[in-house]
């Protein structure tokens, strides 16, 4: 506890205004010392978490853990490092490898220790070999990282990209997904052969925590409405508890409109009228579904970045967490999602001007230079996109 407070005092400085990052900015309010008691309604809890973990700073440079992962992860991480170098970003990466191939727990332990040490990480997707019988019933390593580090909130913003065609009009939805419990507990057993039970756990503590995060996020970013997504008509106790926590939390934020929607109707609404949604909060599995629908609506898995926020650590990755194993090593992957994730990470560290530098270069490459990798229906390669971004970054960095 004391060390966290110490870290907060290091960060307690006025951060530069992030007006440069126009449409996609998050307000960089100064970090203040609040208690971590999340039952006190007045605590600006999510604001405190906005820069959590950003502690590993030495000599003006930050150290961030990098987990390349499987599939397209390693090549995309290479590009991130290149762009950071061209932009002069004061971040060093400590690379830790966890691959699905390794059977040992030591690799996971090392990675988690490295993330704890540095506080912030950039991560690729780890493939879960569920077909491999030797894998046993150990849970997915992606889930292990999230649960061990208690990264309770998965946040992604689905916003229409300027210049990219889409079937729907302008969408701007923030999806906040509970990231540690629900259906992802991997608590399963076979009672008798052929009968399997899988447990979904919902706790009041986690539901309240994610609800508070969602409402405070909405308030901090000037969003007007929070929609809780659930299936409480069928799972009356589990989702009922989640819904009740959201409803109670909404009473502490009377200026934010609150509504609830059943997941199947929500899916239908997402594809017919997505403009009606603002901020959405939901348990784990529904979050998985809605995130993927949302990402698909604005252009696909190659575009949207995501963040996993905890009370002490933050891990940045692509929103839909795909490993892209079928296109690995072919120079066709879209680096946008990973580049934007790295920009989100920079913003989290307080390096706003570098964040805007990279974000603006990426949007320009998509909107003006019209770089289209195969997932966007074009013929450009990963390197085409990266080089375009690098050129813009170099040009703008010279003016900084």
């Amino acid at each position: 506890m004391a060390s966290v407070l110490q870290k907060c005092s290091v960060l307690c400085r006025s951060l530069p205004a992030s007006a440069a990052v126009k449409a996609f900015s998050r307000s960089a309010a100064p970090c203040s010392l609040h208690t971590r008691d999340f039952h006190s309604g007045a605590a600006a809890y999510s604001q405190q978490l906005a820069t959590v973990g950003a502690s590993s700073k030495y000599g003006g440079r930050y150290t961030v853990t990098m987990i390349p992962g499987d599939g397209i992860g390693p090549e995309l991480m290479g590009h991130v490092k290149d762009i950071f170098r061209y932009a002069g970003v004061p971040v060093d990466f400590e690379e830790v490898q966890i691959t699905s191939q390794e059977g040992d727990e030591e690799a996971i332990e090392n990675a988690i220790t490295a993330i704890k040490r540095n506080g912030v990480a950039l991560k690729g997707g780890l493939r879960t070999l569920h077909l491999d019988p030797s894998y046993g019933v150990a849970r997915s390593r992606n889930v292990a990282v999230r649960v061990r580090l208690d990264l309770f909130a998965n946040v992604l913003r689905c916003k229409t990209f300027p210049g990219l065609p889409s079937r729907h009009g302008d969408i701007d939805i923030v999806i906040i997904r509970e990231n540690t419990e629900g259906e992802y507990t991997s608590l399963e057993h076979e009672n008798v052969p052929g009968v399997v039970e899988s447990l979904k756990i919902i706790t009041a503590k986690s539901s309240e925590r994610i609800a508070r995060y969602a409402f405070e996020y909405a308030q901090r970013h000037g969003r007007k409405k929070v929609t809780a997504v659930h299936k409480a008509n069928i799972m009356k106790m589990g989702d009922g508890l989640f819904l009740e926590c959201c409803r109670k939390m909404s009473e502490e934020f009377p200026d934010i409109e609150y509504e609830s929607m059943i997941i199947d109707n929500c899916s239908m609404q997402m594809v017919s009228r997505p403009q009606q949604f603002d901020v959405m909060v939901m348990p784990n599995l529904y979050g998985n579904i809605i995130s993927n629908i949302g990402a698909g609506l604005v252009g696909g898995p190659g575009l949207v970045p995501g963040e996993n926020i905890g009370e002490e650590y933050a891990v940045f990755e692509t929103a839909t967490r795909n490993t892209g194993k079928s296109i690995a090593g072919q120079n066709v992957a879209n680096p946008t999602a990973m580049l934007l994730a790295s920009a989100l990470m920079l913003e989290h560290l307080g390096l706003d001007k570098y964040a805007s530098l990279i974000e603006n270069a990426v949007y320009k490459a998509l909107a003006e230079n019209k770089i289209r990798t195969p997932d966007l229906g074009g013929q450009h390669s990963t390197v085409d996109m990266v080089q375009t971004v690098v050129k813009e970054v170099e040009a703008q960095a010279a003016k900084m």
Binding site: E183, M235, G240, I293
Partner: protein, 363 residues
């Protein structure tokens, strides 16, 4: 042993859904009709009118399934309705209202339990003339309807911690997988995709997937694929044309079938069928009873009509199905006789008359 039981069940299904041939020689087939509540009666009447105009060999036996208190004090479907359905095997149902009141079960749940409706089938095909951002959708979702996340088994372990149990069993998974492949074969579809999250729910979805894989071995003429639920959602909203038949457990099915309904225009135009044990099949519209427009001749009978078309296909009456479906789609495309929910001002009877007229003109 379980495998044997379900093999003979699916053989029974094959008899009922022969590809391209009629079920009985020239006799009309009696079907149980459950008009339902709210707009139910008027849309049922519309369907009957259109079927008569098409000379479809269907005899309707109307039934009322409003639950009554049985001898044990629990609510049951009236005996007469149960007998009718068990005799005819095939039913068409309008929207049902669940009465408010303590202890009254959901009507749909009651029907499901009474007739052991284990698979919910929703064909989603884009309707020309009813524009959505997704033209060219043509897929079918098949959802296991008895277990999974909807087992209703929940406990509060300690204060503030709730555990909900998702149940996956081999017989149920195998049964729905066999139906999915049978359906694909009978309807001439070439791919079945199993939708799952076995990377997270290794044992439960793993079991479901195993059953699908084993059943796929018996249907080498149908291509079998597996895809994670999130990947399906991601790809579905970008390019739904890549999907054909999808089979999945209960919750994913609930969500995906509604998602696909949203792609083609919503529950007002989506057909649905429920397959039960012993060859029972109940086709239904999945929208609500719309009490605000009930009795005013404003309702849209499209969903119930398309469900009835699905019923004809299930009976092997493909020619009549094609004619009625084409007539309905042409009427919607023409746009002069659209009901309010489709953006027009016509009455239900206008729409019905127009479709009836067209169906007689189509060869």
């Amino acid at each position: 042993m379980a495998a044997g039981v379900y093999r003979s069940l699916s053989q029974g299904l094959r008899r009922i859904t022969p590809f391209g041939s009629r079920l009985y020689s020239d006799e009309a087939r009696t079907v149980t009709l459950i008009p339902g509540d709210g707009i139910g009666p008027e849309i049922s009447a519309a369907v009957q009118e259109i079927f008569a105009a098409a000379s479809a060999p269907i005899k309707w036996e109307t039934s009322d399934v409003t639950a009554i208190k049985g001898p044990g004090g629990k609510y049951i479907i009236p005996q007469e309705a149960q007998e009718s359905m068990n005799k005819n095997k095939i039913g068409l149902k309008g929207p049902l209202k669940t009465p408010v009141g303590k202890g009254h079960p959901s009507m749909n749940l009651l029907l499901r339990k009474t007739f052991q409706l284990y698979a919910n089938v929703r064909p989603c095909k884009s309707i020309e003339g009813f524009k959505t951002p997704y033209p060219d959708v043509d897929l079918v979702t098949i959802r296991e309807n008895t277990e999974g996340e909807y087992s209703g088994i929940e406990h509060m372990i300690v204060d503030g911690v709730v555990q909900s149990i998702k149940l996956i069993t081999e017989p149920a998974s195998r049964r729905v997988a066999e139906f999915a492949f049978d359906f694909a074969r009978a309807q001439g579809r070439d791919t079945v995709t199993a939708v799952h999250k076995a990377n997270i729910m290794r044992m439960s979805d793993g079991l479901f997937l195993k059953c699908c894989r084993e059943v796929a071995e018996d249907y080498k003429d149908i291509r079998f694929e597996e895809m994670y639920l999130d990947t399906v959602c991601l790809n579905m909203v970008q390019d739904p044309t890549q999907f054909d038949v999808l089979v999945m457990p209960n919750l994913y099915g609930d969500i995906l079938s509604d998602l696909c309904a949203g792609l083609i225009g919503g529950l007002g135009v989506t057909p649905s069928g429920n397959i039960g044990a012993d060859g029972v099949a109940i086709f239904e519209s999945v929208h609500g009873t719309a009490p605000d427009i009930a009795g005013k001749d404003l309702a849209n009978p499209t969903a119930l009509l398309l469900s009835a078309v699905m019923m004809l296909r299930h009976l092997g009456l493909h020619d009549h199905a094609r004619r009625i479906e084409t007539a309905a789609f042409e009427t919607i495309k023409e746009g002069t006789a659209l009901t309010g929910d489709l953006g027009g001002k016509a009455k239900c009877s206008d729409f019905t008359r127009e479709v009836s007229k067209k169906v007689q003109e189509i060869e």
